[in-house]
Symmetry: D2
Subunit: 347 residues, 4 copies
């Protein structure tokens, strides 16, 4: 069985493990206040072209989403999200468990449009009884979205401008950031994100690290207080160095860094899978140009492929067919994709 | 500078790293539903002599404490703790952030006595206005306590009996469990804990692992629902295998397991430090027989030792002296302790 | 200006005020532990035909909803509601502020069907990753719903049976209970509700009282602990007697009680309004047979009526027309309805 | 039995009831947006000598405390309180239920001193690991304190200055405000409180109203958002007019207002009780010059008085004696105090 069912089915890129082994007996302070974390912070600020940014490291995505939401928002505020957003669907109500309603907007392509955000925010403030509903305080976007699509620089810019003019924090979930930034379809850089967002994160777990998410933010109060939020939400790793070591390893060397190389590899393998389906006349559900591909397969086609490959059922397309998801990752072997493509051809 | 300021200043025992490297390219399911985690569960149940126990893995201590407290308690219940308990002092109000008051009882030696628990619980229920105060729902003990002391089997047994007779969950924080269980002063085993507690955890982070805490529980509703709580509190590691691999490595081989070996090593090194202070006529603050030792040092003595050694100021003893803490760990080199003992002798 | 914009625009029925004045200098215990509250409890249990029921009094609806949800649910559970349910729309995220996600199901007529509840619950438990979403723990219904419609006994019975078979609490919001129970369309009694629900409340605020909601429940743990939840949520009125006095006044005399008389009066006045619109050829949005009526009015019709009458815009119907709401209450004067009917006729 | 066991054992001053009856059929908007509330706001601003203040009305004390704390604080902040403070002792963990730890400081006389606040705040910020403990964000004082003592203007001024210099909100719980302001020992006015505090409230429940607390604040963000917090915490009364009517009635007429008259009456009656005990040679526990008096009585003395009078056991004084509490209120009849004084004389 060759697995394409998620992008976290292996451990970490060997360079990461090497770095952990190499530094294992160095004695450092705990909780992310060590030299490795400092180095990683410097590297990230350089990528973002802004040496005043706050950078903090957490272990996982749900933890990061919740910590950001609860740290930035006031108790009576909620967060606007696509209804398909990870925080609305797959986090066991974690944002709500910290007291914040997810204001879920119906999304046709897994992304939020400026228009939707605007309508939602204006409907709130135009309602004479607005205090009877949660005050919108933040906009949450995933980059790439849960279905692999990304935002253009133009889209992010207009959303950012609206948010700033309307006291809404703009928060970008970057659990799969690398796959987005290195997509052929992408015209956005980390420096753009640092400029346009209030807070975003660079996902390590799904792009080569054992685990780890690097949160980047501007807000002054958060410079003073975000670490409290991390600790309160159980996200402050005792051996914080593990996060610094991994992110330094991933992001060192600017545009040539390991993080981009690994993500590009995954995107290339995903593009091969897409091409293979398309050549076979099998329709793709959307135009994802990242590491997740969503062919529309009949039950029969699914059964055939499932004999040798693991993939995920994403949803129902019509009576005969489902949308399914194939994920590649930094760890996907070219031979595994060869085998998959061969099987697709035989469908 | 040789560091004795905490027990998490290095990475992990090399066997742990080897195991991670060795398994790195195995493809597994995420979220702790892989074969490594299953193996670790089986091993832990065997240690506990009870194959019906629930076993789940989390990343860190604060996260684990909060997840357990919030999963087990009803919204209107609080948790009884020594005022020096980790949940009351060093978790940025994390239990309160989930809605639960810590009912902090003054503790002379860092531990709770049956008498205190009883008085607190009876005072609550005898108060005609008891619903104006938080309902006690759980007793939280640390084993060892934050000051290195442990509970005897007799003490745990009587506390356990009282808790069961009075609808109080008994929860034991085992962030440093290994150092407690292998202490010369200890007559308690994992099987005892599994029998006497409702829920406890075996700490990995401070005893040889990169990170990780293994929660063990009996409660039926928790068998069904504890994983929801983990996910909701951001504690469900995507690559959950990392936890299974580490705990299997640490706890395999029963009484001869790596976990106990590492902990014993730390305790022996700590005993050498204690002996050295005592021989020098320097008084120890308490009778800790685990990996943390607390000599009472004058400012001058502190300054001298601080030239070459890192340790932590624990509190004020009197006008001239402070209590300070020296920690050993699985990673403490015997030569480092030699150097410290030599320096103590020269004080 | 004659107001039909809500059912709480006046104070209380004069008998209520008389009772408050009459008892004003009686000295009683606080917090609902006085003889007036005891009398009201007995009266309510008699209506419900079950003298083992727990009965507690709170001040307002949002407070009551949140207290019930947070008291009954475990931290990792959510509450299933129609998307138009009051808890989902008009409580400023109060349920979420206590940590519980509202699992909002799209509703065509403002009510939930057994089918919807079933599909939602089964989809959850059939999802292999169910712990990544909130565990359904309760079903919330409003009786009448926010749009005036009610459930039949048959509907409530099948929902109740499903809930009991599937570990879901059934909670009925009765903020407008009186208007529902006395509707011509209603075949449900308080005794039915007490039998079929786990917890429901009898709304006073909108049916003749100054304020107050009487919560009725069966659950044993809640008998022991619901008052903690009330106090913790700020709902325990110091002069709790005020609630007991009002509910005793409203519900004394069984089927002939003031509560039903007042509600019937409102329903009759509402029926007159409905008839008036219908006679005029103006379509009603739904079949509400309670105190809220929803005609579909053009902008022009709205403007004309708005000269002398206050009513609420409920939503957009089509390009030309809106759904608007006219509310009657226990306090609606027959002459006011005469005037409104005359104005409708002239449209 | 004549009751002196609390200050909320009767209904409301007859003028309040008259006002409610008089206005009963006026039709108004709900939720505190009516003309009565506006009038009360204007009156309160005049008392406070500041027409820019925010004024909002809630129903009860716990509700108000929690709403203020949760509205003003960020998620990672806690509130400093005397350990005897109402929020720490008698609110069923309500502040913690909104996520905020009460940082309880031991208090000898039920009040907080500048020195204590300063030490607590400095200890926090001087701790290198300060993010491992809750960030102090607010100071909570009760005026009068739970034991009847008050703060002088000089004390409040220095606390206020320290708070402003250190980013701590100063919040004064005024559940018994009237009894404090009209105490002979008091040199503080509402205008002083409005100047020195960030937020405080004027308690109605215990000083003549049926219920109600009027919150007064300066903060700009709260002007925009405090009503969200009220609604979210279930404190927004549907018939908000009831609060406006009561506070207008109580506070109309400046220094000659009913509120002060009622409070003065209670204080005078309390002074008579105090004098009676003192004359009898019975020691008072503290120097309270407000409506609560705390004699130290032997068991035998308690038994004798308990035959005809209800009072509250406050705590143990020594083996033979307890501190007990006698409360007067706006409703205490002079004849009742005559009877009590006669009984004291006979002890």
């Amino acid at each position: 069985m060759i697995r394409f069912d998620s992008d976290y089915i292996e451990g970490a890129h060997p360079s990461i493990l090497d770095a952990l082994v190499r530094t294992n007996f160095d004695q450092t302070a705990g909780y992310g206040e060590d030299a490795f974390c400092e180095e990683a912070r410097t590297i990230i600020r350089r990528h973002c072209n802004d040496d005043t940014l706050g950078v903090q490291f957490l272990v996982g995505g749900t933890q990061t989403n919740v910590t950001v939401i609860d740290a930035f928002l006031r108790s009576y505020q909620g967060v606007i999200s696509a209804d398909s957003g990870h925080i609305n669907v797959h986090e066991t109500g974690a944002p709500e468990a910290t007291g914040h309603k997810v204001i879920a907007l119906p999304s046709h392509d897994g992304r939020l449009s400026l228009q939707q955000i605007k309508e939602c925010n204006e409907a709130h403030w135009n309602d004479p009884a607005h205090e009877h509903t949660v005050q919108p305080g933040m906009v949450y976007l995933s980059f790439p979205a849960e279905n692999g699509l990304i935002y253009t620089k133009a889209e992010l810019t207009e959303i950012s401008e609206y948010c700033r003019a309307n006291r809404l924090y703009l928060f970008v979930d970057g659990a799969r950031m690398g796959y987005g930034l290195t997509s052929e379809a992408c015209d956005v850089t980390l420096a753009d994100l640092a400029r346009l967002c209030d807070v975003f994160y660079i996902g390590g777990t799904k792009v080569g690290a054992l685990f780890g998410e690097a949160v980047v933010f501007k807000d002054k109060e958060m410079h003073r207080s975000f670490r409290y939020a991390i600790k309160q939400h159980g996200g402050m790793l005792a051996k914080g160095r593990l996060l610094g070591i991994q992110f330094a390893e991933l992001l060192r060397d600017g545009e040539d860094c390991l993080y981009y190389k690994l993500a590009r590899h995954a995107n290339i393998q995903a593009a091969r899978i897409k091409e293979s389906f398309t050549k076979k006349g099998i329709r793709m559900w959307n135009a994802s140009a990242t590491n997740m591909q969503f062919p529309i397969l009949t039950k029969e086609q699914q059964q055939k492929l499932a004999q040798d490959f693991a993939f995920e059922r994403w949803g129902t397309f019509d009576e005969k067919s489902d949308v399914v998801r194939f994920c590649t990752s930094w760890a996907t072997r070219s031979e595994a994709v060869d085998a998959l493509c061969a099987a697709i051809e035989k469908l």
